[in-house]
């Protein structure tokens, strides 16, 4: 994470969050709601059961425009952007030449000559500089983060709750597709069927000035089906249950996508991209360490930074994320371990503040939605 200078910034919804009883924290240089009045577990369950509304205006939006925009983005990220149809989005990472991760990203292809990349809040300045340094004159790179708001509307009831607010035929929008132009509650938006909760749902881009109006409409729609606003606390438990990576935890400039279990977003056949040679070499040799998902067997909660140790207490790895999983009903976590220890069924020990607590490696997401 980059150090933020000066006072944390406020999204257009700061006052709305306060009015809803939110507890605000500094996250990536932004004052964001970590939870509202009823707490993280209640918000988590509301998202799994109905719909959760998230202010993610802190995320960055970077546009690539020009005849070679697709080529430029292809060079920056691991995905197959050339093969991405217009109106489709893809989760990818951008790497340094050594394979370390610059950031994890969602790439939205509007047209061959217009691509939008959504970047993590704490990485906006770093990413924009990296992008500009590496696209040269191939296309124009515009940081539209300040004038673009982003709200996430996530949960099994999301489509049903959102449809009354828009003429856009949501049922025809497939996972990871988006409508570049639509109107929701009178606000001009782009609607994407993307998210970070392991649920069905939508993300809506809107002009910053229109965000409060859009939020109010979405909040009403969410509450009508038993949903509610959701803060960063539950956003974290929701994504962790879905085994979705968080930059700064699972992903850093010291980790590669292959180590992080993101081999599926690295499309070696797509062409040249920064970091490809290092990743090809690592793929051939096999990563020496891997990200493992684990459930706590003993009584304890693994936390970011806790050591993973062997029987003798020697450090063999480190927890990157851990918390109770409100839906799975177990304490869960992710961490880097030697590759041989990343197989499902392997027993690990997590050093929970001096107590060695047993954990078992499991394969795949902790939670998968039905259907």
């Amino acid at each position: 994470m980059e150090a933020s200078s000066g006072q944390p910034r406020k999204t257009p919804l700061y006052e709305a969050h306060r009015a809803l009883g939110a507890k605000m924290i500094d996250f990536g240089g932004w004052l964001m709601p970590v939870q509202y009045a009823t707490g993280i577990i209640d918000e988590h369950q509301a998202t799994r059961r109905a719909v959760g509304l998230f202010d993610v205006c802190h995320m960055g939006e970077v546009h690539f425009r020009g005849p070679r925009a697709t080529d430029a983005v292809q060079r920056l990220v691991t995905g197959n952007i050339g093969a991405l149809p217009n109106g489709h989005a893809a989760y990818v990472v951008a790497c340094y030449p050594d394979g370390g991760v610059v950031d994890d990203l969602i790439v939205y292809r509007f047209e061959r000559d217009h691509i939008l990349i959504v970047v993590n809040a704490a990485n906006v300045a770093k990413d924009v500089a990296w992008f500009r340094d590496n696209v040269g004159t191939w296309c124009e790179v515009t940081d539209a983060s300040d004038e673009t708001g982003l709200l996430a509307f996530q949960g099994p009831q999301a489509q049903q709750a959102l449809q009354p607010l828009t003429d856009a035929p949501l049922a025809t929008l497939k996972h990871h597709d988006f409508f570049p132009t639509a109107t929701v509650a009178g606000v001009p938006v782009s609607i994407a069927r993307t998210g970070y909760t392991a649920e069905d749902g939508f993300e809506l881009f809107a002009p910053t000035a229109e965000v409060p109006r859009l939020w109010d409409a979405l909040l009403g729609a969410a509450q009508a089906v038993g949903g509610k606003p959701v803060g960063l606390g539950a956003r974290d438990t929701l994504r962790l249950e879905g085994r979705l990576s968080l930059y700064g935890n699972e992903l850093t400039n010291q980790t590669t996508p292959l180590e992080a279990g993101l081999g599926w977003v690295v499309k070696f056949e797509a062409g040249e991209f920064i970091g490809k040679q290092a990743l090809l070499k690592q793929r051939a040799e096999g990563p020496t360490r891997k990200l493992a998902g684990f459930v706590m067997v003993g009584r304890g909660i693994a936390r970011h930074g806790y050591p993973i140790v062997d029987e003798a207490g020697a450090r063999i790895g480190e927890v990157t994320s851990g918390s109770p999983g409100p839906t799975v009903g177990k304490n869960i976590g992710l961490g880097y371990v030697p590759a041989a220890k990343a197989e499902a069924g392997t027993r690990l020990l997590v050093d929970c503040r001096g107590k060695f607590i047993e954990a078992e490696v499991v394969k795949g997401p902790f939670y998968k939605r039905a259907g």
Partner: protein, 131 residues
């Protein structure tokens, strides 16, 4: 907010409370602590018979987001532990002064009681801390 900090309890700046009954003190965490913690999901407490010293860590509370130490407001021997909390940690959130109590200790240094804050002094401390 007076209901948040009952007058019959004594408090510490670490946000624990103590209810003194003769030579026995019942101990828990305050409403302020609970609001800071959020949803409590695990409480780790000492066993009956263990000794605790004023100001020392006697256990920990895990919330969804973080783990926090519990500091003994007074010294003594643990005579009772609220074992139902291991099954129902949410009691700490819902009733921090009742079902959410944590341990009872037989005081070994009853004079330490004088070092605790009354409800007014604790709330004054909270106001100062917030500034």
């Amino acid at each position: 907010m007076s209901g948040s900090y009952p007058n019959d309890l004594l408090y510490t700046k670490d946000h624990e409370w103590a209810r003194i009954d003769g030579t026995v003190a019942t101990i828990g965490v305050t409403r302020f602590a609970v609001d800071q913690l959020g949803d409590v999901t695990q409480v780790d407490l000492p066993k009956e018979g263990e000794k605790v010293s004023q100001g020392d860590v006697f256990g920990s509370v895990e919330s969804v987001k973080a783990v926090s130490d519990l500091f003994a407001p007074l010294s003594g021997k643990v005579v009772k532990v609220n074992s139902p909390l291991s099954e129902s940690p949410e009691n700490v959130n819902e009733e921090p002064y009742d079902e959410g109590w944590m341990i009872q200790i037989e005081l070994s240094k009853p004079d330490e009681v004088k070092s605790l804050l009354d409800a007014d002094a604790y709330q004054e401390f909270l106001r100062e801390s917030a500034e």
